[in-house]
Symmetry: C2
Subunit: 245 residues, 2 copies
DNA sequence: CGGTCACTTGATCGTCTTCAATACCAGTGG
DNA sequence: CCACTGGTATTGAAGACGATCAAGTGACCG
């Protein structure tokens, strides 16, 4: 059904329509603004692609010719300074929509963290669709607003929180997002490396590692493996995230 | 023409229509999506208000019942931690639009820095207008996207730049925005206090003050008075902002 | 003038960074 | 089965940048 590699699968309208109808991301995404009956039109302009870990989906400064919708995996969005310092502005998982831009070029880069399946839409084609589905436009505004709220939270974190509070905030956020997919209560997998976490929280790898170790030794969390986290005291950790000592 | 105090001036359609037609903010704002001929409809739902310095226009957590459009003055948007730490997420000047929210409550607060004149629109009423003017909806999406790009830049600043680089970035940004209104080349007025700048850049008042002094003594800028800045070496300062030593 | 308030300047302190070494884990090949 | 390798994570010690605490300056205003 889906393309196993980077080969697009768009030319068979029925197959493609099914691809959209049964897409894991559809429920959480822009696409749900299009009714099932018309989903073929959406499918007709979507190019389904798979990206291996480390692949660049969007490159800062490139012409903003496409939108991207994630249907599996996790992506990191980031900006770089000329000397290589990196700030990760967010992680995008299933259902997330990338590529909103005012100017003609992308303002950030996006890379696959693990194996990522996604749909590419030509900007121009999606815009013509938008005229027929005002609900979709409203949905885009909703998405942009949500991102804006998240960005403001992140500014508060980066500007005013301590390393400890940043990690607490981050782990609580991940646990909330992980809950949808992961099974055991309060336990989840971090798809990103310590380096990614550091560049997301405005810290160094060492500080992230030390702080996680400390939170573990204090009984807030369990760390079964480097990529797994279990939150043992969610309320207390949420308190930490908000600055309660 | 405009209300001199907090008294709304909406009931005279012709007066109100003129208020919108000749509004300083119209050219830069959402309102330019509405044609001159229909501007009365916009004016009919706008409540023009004046806020004294320090007044709260929007309170984080309150029901998000209104949109706000600034027609004169400057506003600071911010978020607080329970213990009082503050992060200013942005400054909004003439033409800026506030109040985008997904949830039913505002995600941030907004206060007048100087005397601010603004229009309030009921969320519900503006939404009905939006159905008649899809261009206005597009404009809102554009605005949200622009804000998002600015937010990402600010995350890079807060997470990865030094105090020196933050001040350089901030001054360059202010000079760009000031250019529209201020007369002499590269010279402008900062409407906000050192404390506001500090809370915007994730620093303390002392560090802001010291860093400005240093930039002055190094010949990058002139500081005729505490609220005035003249940029003497724009290119070099832009370089600083991007990390060139 | 005396008061307040914002800003500036100075001295000390602490958190996080930097530099460096070690541990760990998965994969590969002897 | 175990040594070897490369990459990632952890831990340790020293250092730096910005925060904190504290005093001093200047402008505005009754």
């Amino acid at each position: 059904m889906y393309a196993p590699s980077t080969r697009p699968v768009v030319l068979d309208p029925h197959g493609a329509a099914n691809a959209c109808t049964h897409c894991d991301a559809r429920a959480h995404s822009v696409c749900n603004a299009v009714p099932d009956s018309d989903v073929a039109r959406l499918a007709a302009i979507a190019v389904v692609t798979t990206a291996q870990p480390g692949t660049t989906l969007i490159q800062e400064g490139d012409p903003a010719s496409h939108f991207v919708n994630i249907s599996a995996g996790t992506v990191r969005m980031y900006k770089l300074l000329p000397d290589g310092r990196r700030q990760i502005t967010g992680f995008a998982g299933v259902g997330h929509f990338l590529g909103l831009a005012v100017s003609s070029t992308y303002a950030f880069s996006a890379e696959a963290i693990d194996t990522v399946r996604y749909c590419r839409f030509s900007r121009a084609r999606l815009h013509t669709l938008l005229d027929d589905y005002p609900a979709m436009e409203k949905r885009l505004l909703e998405i942009a607003s949500t991102e804006l709220v998240a960005a403001q939270d992140q500014m508060l974190l980066l500007g005013r929180k301590t390393a400890r509070e940043r990690l607490a905030s981050f782990l609580m956020l991940q646990s909330r997002q992980g809950v949808m997919c992961q099974s055991p209560r309060g336990r989840f997998v971090l798809p990103m490396s310590r380096g990614d976490i550091a560049d997301y929280l405005g810290l160094t790898i060492e500080t992230v590692s030390r702080t996680i170790t400390k939170l573990r030794s204090e009984g807030y969390i369990d760390v079964p493996s480097a990529t797994e986290i279990a939150i043992k005291a969610p309320a207390a950790l949420e308190g930490l995230a908000l600055g309660n000592a």
